[in-house]
Amino acid sequence: MNATILVVEDEPEIRQFLRSSLRAEGYRVVESPNGQRAAVDAGMHKPDLAIVDLGLPDFDGVEVIRRIREWSPMPIIVLSARIQERSKIDALDTGADDYITKPFGVGELLARVRVALRHSVRPDTGRGILLLGSSFVDLEKRRALRDGAEVHLTAIEFRLLASLAKHLGMVVTHRQLLQEVWGPSHVEHTHYLRVYMKQLREKLEPDPVRPRYLLTETGVGYRLVADD
């Protein structure tokens, strides 16, 4: 497949480590040391995915994302330091698809990259079928089974699951979910999500207090993972 990955990162040592681990997986790597170059490189090399550091020297990583999003739907993963909670959320709301917090291990990064690339190849998972352990959800036919028995999901619960499934394996912010499920006038109503996620977990998760599929990204949003 040999996907091309654009790495936007100002620290040469981090670039080097990203380059060697991504190349070892067979990806082609294009590197940009700053935001200005990133905008040019993104247009020139037409990468399949971008990894963008949020702490760039010239302009904000969020600005890089905005510029890429003006013309391309390519998946974008942001690298953030723990101190940058706010800009991480801004990046996701601006169009980044996922994030990873520094320091990270290469396993974590490659897993995120694989999920994001799979999503860009097959972006229609929102209408598919979800296997969550012993639970099974058909989003199209609006049916849910758990251990073979029918489970009743409300209309909103289905909509919420479908929104999460559209970004399967990736993080979806509170704002995005509220906007998609309840509409733009409800984007501040995070408590709706608390109530509905609890219900969904009780209906679908094997152990609702330790979710394995409907994961909380504290302070950011949620991530739905499913069995392949």
């Binding site: 909670e85 320091p103 291990g105 509170h174 509905y196 207090v209 504290t218 302070g219």
Partner: protein, 350 residues
Amino acid sequence: MRWPGYAWAAAATLACTLIGLGMSPRFDLVNVAMVYLLAVVVIALRLGRGPVVAASILNVAAFNFFFVPPRGTFSVEEQQYLLTFAMMLAVGLVISGLTERVRARAKAQAALAIEAETERIRSALLASISHDLRTPLAVITGASSSLAERGERLSVEEHRALAQSIFHQSREMSELVTKVLQMTRLESGTIALERDWDSLGEIAGSVLRRLRERLATHMVMVDLPDDLPLVRVDASLIEQALGNLLENAARHTPPRTLIRIRAQARGGELVVSVEDFGPGLPQSDLERIFDKFHHAGAGGVGLGLAICRAIVHLHHGRIWAEQLPGGGTAFRFTLPLEKQPSLPAEALAR
């Protein structure tokens, strides 16, 4: 701060005059003057120099007007009442001067104590950080130099083991640096809380996921009532606080000890507990356990619990540790409960 002082002076004069009027048929004028003097003394003890002067003038004027014959005038027939005024003023000024000096000395001492405490904390911080960083740095330097310089002579397993220990040690260091930074930010007051409605169940679920490797040696139980109310908190901070309590419980109890997360709504607040069924801690330790560097040197800088305390206080909650009957320790903190937000129609219809 200043004007209430003068208001108190005026109020004191009024009160003395009323008391004096009640006394005057039966008591000597001297005793009425004593009441006024008492008021000046009290004001000198409580308030500054200005109110003392004001009270003395007002008191003598009132005393003169209401009690000294001829009543209802300010004429001073007998010089002794000038003396009364002078005495009252002198007593007031002397006492307020003394009080001020005592106050200034106490303030200076408190400032000195704070300075000494800050200095002590700073050097303890440096000592324990450099202690806690030195070991991982030694491992990282040694292991990475073997890989870089002798790599070709090492077996694949040795390669992997060295790389693993670099990975592990640098993670530990990163955790430590994050904690130090976090403590600094919490203390400098530069953290703005990002409050939003959140459920403790979700926070617990995500912390258990984040710490699953560190807590793998212990048995963790989650005991939350089904109708637990939502809290309006900075979820990342509360997640950290809960995580630090869990890590602390795992670090200070033997493997396979049961650790239980609990939460209950009680009297307008949510009480969150991390209870361990380990050997327990003596009462004297429980009182100081949230102080910085209490555990310094015993694995971890001892910042974890101090961070918890700072986070809980930022949320206007309380935090404490107590012994559990039959051994074990409970760490509990509270979060104020607010009026629950309204829910969409579908959820209410259920």
